[in-house]
């Protein structure tokens, strides 16, 4: 029988900021999106003030003044670094791990029957909190959907203890009672549209969906929803790695005609591979949740020093935006690049693909800002040839900076910005 855990960070970006600024503990903090636009993360104190996710910063200014809300620009370098550490630590708790987003991961609990899973969950929480200072919640269930639901319960205190919830500990009656209180839109994969349609048919809570008629669901909605229902009943339909059916990865890479020795041309190459991959991404109607970039020397060249390195970067939110993906890939490239090698090949992989339709649309991200731009770019490139319109990163050396006026230092990514201690 399958068993899964879903571990995720609490208010992840805010928690990251608190790691190196302990004075922010207990204070109302928001982290703003690109260009300091909207609240992309809120501390518990800010949530208590009724501030919704995605509230534009300019709308919040009075409230901020009144309650001393501290606003910070996104420090993606910091969040990615702490995320990598978190995933590294969590990966030691199971032989099988699927990194789902920048702050969530699934762990397979197959074979853990003899463990006290509540204790195991507590140990995970304690270790992550001590080693990197990030508070997490752990949810466990027989399917990925149930594990996600359990995590929600742990987080909101609906079930479980101190941030850990193992749904298998509840009796069937207790589970039914619990599920009767949770609205259907809290289920993984049930977005606002589906949730509205379900509610119209009298299926407003998790329990009603769990006990609905499978055939009707498949006919009136989709096989995906029918599968969700099976998952709610403890039948695991999705293994690790398989977020949604028939999604693969999109790779784009090339060996170079001449060896490349410096960062700049590598950066241009990576940018052009991203452009190609992102266009494919958009044409299949997907968003990418992770970007991988890799470089390597020629393994067949005798006596030459060898170097090959890849880095996977989870994204704060899934996107199909070439500009965003390029920025992230180039950031990753800088991390793995070492001078003194003759690079023969570079490549990128877009991973953790999701359907544009199933991702709940974000109000504020670049994804939405640039949809029209991406469409225009794709149309022109289709008509006049690929590369007619391209990003500046691909070949013209230009400044490209987003406004991040309230960004905290690169505590874990810049030697000249390390946290100081007296």
């Amino acid at each position: 029988m399958s068993n899964f855990a879903l571990v995720d960070g609490n208010n992840f970006y805010v928690s990251c900021e608190r790691v190196f600024n302990p004075k922010l503990e207990g204070k109302p903090v928001v982290v703003l999106s690109n260009n300091d636009g909207c609240a992309v993360a809120r501390s518990a104190e800010v949530k208590a003030l009724g501030v919704k996710m995605g509230t534009p910063w300019f709308q919040m200014k009075d409230l901020a003044q009144k309650h001393g809300i501290i606003a910070l620009s996104s420090n993606y370098e910091l969040y990615a670094d702490l995320s990598n550490r978190m995933m590294g630590i969590l990966g030691t708790y199971s032989p099988d791990q699927e990194i789902y987003s920048i702050d969530e991961c699934f762990l397979s609990l197959d074979g853990f029957e003899r463990y006290d899973l509540l204790d195991y969950g507590k140990e995970i929480r304690q270790t992550v909190k001590q080693w990197i200072g990030i508070p997490v919640c752990v949810g466990m269930g027989r399917s990925k959907t149930l594990a996600k639901l359990a995590n929600h319960c742990a987080k909101k205190g609906l079930a479980g203890l101190e941030g850990v919830c193992d749904l298998n500990r509840l009796s069937a009656d207790e589970r039914s009672a619990l599920f009767s209180k949770i609205p259907v839109n809290e289920i993984w994969g049930v977005g606002p549209n589906i949730s509205r349609r379900l509610t119209e048919r009298g299926i407003a809570h998790v329990e009603s969906l769990r006990t609905a008629d499978a055939k009707t669901l498949r006919r009136e909605f989709s096989v995906v929803l029918e599968r969700t229902m099976a998952e709610l009943n403890g039948i695991s339909c999705m293994s690790l790695e398989e977020a949604v059916p028939n999604k693969q990865q999109i790779m784009s890479s090339r060996s170079f005609g001449q060896y490349v020795y410096t960062l700049e041309p590598l950066g241009e190459a990576v940018a052009s591979y991203i452009a190609i991959a992102a266009q494919k991404l958009r044409s299949q109607g997907s968003l990418a949740g992770m970007v991988q970039v890799y470089i390597r020397t020629n393994p067949h060249k005798e006596n030459a020093p060898q170097y090959q390195r890849g880095l996977s970067i989870p994204l704060p939110e899934p996107t199909d935006d070439t500009l965003r993906l390029t920025a992230i890939a180039r950031w990753g490239l800088k991390k793995i690049f070492r001078p003194g090698f003759a690079y023969q090949k570079a490549g990128v992989v877009l991973m953790n693909l999701r359907d544009t339709g199933t991702v709940q649309p974000d109000l504020f991200s670049k994804h939405r800002d640039n949809t029209r731009l991406m469409q225009v770019m794709d149309n022109i490139n289709a008509l006049w040839g690929r590369g007619t319109l391209h990003t500046a990163a691909e070949g013209v050396h230009k400044e490209w900076k987003m406004k991040r006026e309230k960004k905290t230092p690169g505590f874990t990514t810049r030697w000249d910005q390390l946290p100081e201690v007296r």
Binding site: P22, K23, E25, D81, N84, R85, M86, M87, G88, I89, G91, I99, T127, Q130, W131, I132, G133, E241, Q249, M251, Q292, Y294, R296, P305, Q306, Y307, Q308, R309, G310, L311, S312, K335, I336, R338, G347, V349, M351, T412, W415, L418, P419, E420, V421, R422
Partner: protein, 131 residues
């Protein structure tokens, strides 16, 4: 000579040949030598002179491991009034104190009920001989 300190990169699942986390070359790796738990290890910059006696000078690099249990006599990074401080931990059954290694800095005592928050244990200090 540059001594690169690579960032942690986890296993690649894409079909790309899995890159080793260590360099292929046989040169001695300072990372390996100094750091046991990369995920829990952070670099901090020391300021001031409170721990001169321990060999920690202003501007030195501290390698801090948050996975270690702070024991009596460890050099720890502690949180005092929300600020990071580096001190030697004095921890006995009846008494907890943070000691400096400089006569100009008095010990910090912790009373019954007061909570001492340890952020991590400093395991190495790197002092540069070049300005």
């Amino acid at each position: 000579m540059k001594l690169p300190l690579p960032l942690y990169s986890h296993v690649v699942r894409a079909g790309f040949p899995s890159p080793a986390d260590d360099y292929v070359s046989e040169a001695l790796d300072l990372n390996e030598h100094l750091i046991s738990r990369q995920d829990a290890t952070f670099f901090l910059r020391a300021r001031g002179h409170s721990m001169m006696g321990a060999g920690i000078q202003d501007g030195d690099l501290l390698i801090v491991d948050r996975s270690l249990t702070p024991t009596h006599q460890s050099v720890v990074i502690a949180l005092v009034d929300g600020e990071f401080t580096v001190k030697r931990l004095y921890k006995r059954a009846d008494r907890i104190r943070l000691l400096s290694e400089n006569p100009d800095f008095p010990p910090i005592e912790f009373q019954e009920g007061q909570e001492l928050q340890i952020w991590g244990v400093a395991i190495h200090v790197i002092h540069s001989l070049r300005p």
